[in-house]
């Protein structure tokens, strides 16, 4: 896979394009123009850019007010701060009030691996999935980021888009199409299914290639929308066989936990839910090494696949 842009950079470049066409689009940031890659938007469209200073609660509340008077606000800031400090504003001012605010939450999960738990967001999907009225989207590469942004810009409903920090390998071809709320099947397979989201998708693709060499046929599903979750895709996967989920998030309340609730209710199958542990904060360090430590990579997926098939 060729390396492309980081999802945050792809998002902000496309947002600047959309903003040129529609002057009602405004971008807000809380002293995170650099961290979010929003410089391209701010330079091109200074009259549509709002710096709010280091004040995430006010940032989300203001975005809701901007939406109330007909603007199309995009809040761009680190996931860790938006999804914790400003959670009440997201819950009340955006989701409950049904304001058309789109939130680009950058450096999600353990992107800021070495900076410690203050900067990790391993809770955000769980927190936001429990709030009705806001969609949660985790794109995996630049192609998907741009396509999902265009789809979200076309509607008037709130969304939380969580991306990482690093440049990402390009998983999809340029013509790929996506529907918010509908999972994408990346690889067919007949023995088991890997369901991944966000930056774990490329690991799932690599694992399926590795497993193919071992004679194991692993289907890969990209669950780019975590709320609303595509339950049909999960239950269709359960018809094939065991399921492995993988996510850059706590094992509690995210993709794996939510998929397991569905299969346990409707179609029990053996499962493994690869995620960050619930026992303590993630070990700090460069995110690649942290992923390896917790088995959140190709090798971890292959181990889980072999175990599941051996047990069958």
């Amino acid at each position: 896979m060729a390396t492309g842009l980081s999802c945050r950079e792809a998002f902000c470049r496309e947002l600047a394009e959309l903003g040129r066409k529609n002057p009602e689009i405004v971008a807000l940031t809380s002293d995170a123009k650099g961290s979010t890659s929003l410089g391209v938007f701010a330079n091109a469209l200074p009259d549509q850019f709002i710096e709010v200073g280091i004040a995430e609660q006010n940032e989300i509340g203001m975005a809701a007010g901007l939406a109330a008077v007909g603007k199309r606000p995009y809040v761009c800031a680190p996931a860790s701060f938006l999804s914790a400090r400003a959670l009440e504003q997201i819950k009340v001012d955006v989701a409950y009030s049904r304001m058309n605010v789109k939130i680009l939450a950058v450096s999600g999960g353990i992107s800021y691996g070495a900076l410690g738990a203050t900067h990790h967001s391993s809770h955000d999907v769980a927190a936001l999935r429990a709030i009705p009225g806001i969609r949660v989207v985790l794109p995996c590469d630049e192609i998907q980021t741009v396509a999902l942004l265009r789809a979200l810009e076309a509607d008037d409903e709130p969304a939380y888009i969580r991306v990482g920090k690093a440049a990402m390998p390009i998983v999809y071809g340029p013509e790929a199409e996506f529907t918010v709320g509908k999972a994408s099947r990346l690889r067919p397979g007949t023995d088991l299914t890997i369901i991944a989201c966000g930056e774990m998708v490329r690991q799932a693709v690599e694992a399926s290639e590795q497993l193919a060499g071992e004679g194991i046929s692993a289907q890969v599903i990209d669950m780019h929308t975590l709320s609303p979750l595509d339950g049909e895709a999960i239950l269709a996967a359960a018809e094939i066989g065991p399921i492995i989920t993988i996510e850059e998030h706590s094992v509690n309340g995210g993709l794996g936990a939510s998929a397991a609730r569905l299969t346990a209710t409707h179609r029990p199958v053996p499962m493994r839910t690869l995620a960050l542990p619930e026992t303590g904060n993630a070990v700090a360090g460069p995110s690649g090494e942290v992923f390896r430590h917790y088995g959140l990579d190709r090798d971890g997926l292959c181990r889980a696949a072999r175990e599941l098939l051996k047990a069958r």
Binding site: A55, N58, G61, M62, A64, V69, K71, Q89, D93, S97
Partner: protein, 273 residues
Amino acid sequence: MDLRELRGKAVGIRRDLLNMIYKAKAGHTGGSLSSTDILTALYYDALRVDPANPHWRDRDYFVLSKGHSVEGLFCILADKGFFDKAELNTFCRFGTRLIGHPNNRIPGVEMNTGALGHGLSISTGMAKGLKMSRRSNRVYTLMGDGELAEGSIWEAAMAASHYKLDNLTAIIDRNRLQISGDTETVMAQEPLADRWRAFGWQVVQLDGHDMAALVAEFRREPARDKPRAIIARTVKGKGVREMENLPRWHHGVPDAELLASAMRQLDAQERSA
């Protein structure tokens, strides 16, 4: 409406909200009575709104940041015809639209509030957005004094003056009480005017039950390039002697006898309006 009619209207709104709270056996009585005159001056004199067209593009925006004092707002919206007055009988009933806080499924309500400390950020965003679009609509928000302990209020206060939002007016219902008692004991607010001035606001202090003062201030063209804070000195429970200045009436509900006494007092106020 002239001042006499506005004063009479405020008495009528107090009657309606007390009846509504009595029927529902629930409500935030004290703060609704302290803010009734402010809301009356806003809705019957200052705000450009159209009950037949709640989403009118040229309307002024009002955000009730102290969302728990919703009773007066509901009675005013119904009285103005945003929705049928009979619906007030459903206040706080199972499945009602008229829950104990503002909700924008109700015609005339802009935003869902109730968690304190949100209204000023929302209003700042509205005022900023209107300025960006060179629209002349004005934005008003009403906050409680106890609410000012929320940090997000001061994030917004800082931002509104930074952006020079002279289309924004924040009114503080300064009744000096919150649910646990005296604001100065729970978490001191003084020197309140100095705090707002230090954050770059134009500050006006007035008697929040003086209809003439309220109307004159809302009609005045505010100073350029600064948001305006109106500190309205009020009495929690205003208009009903047995409730005035007592923290337990924050969400106390009157019994039949007290309701009758309240109505007699309001009748007398109407005659002297």
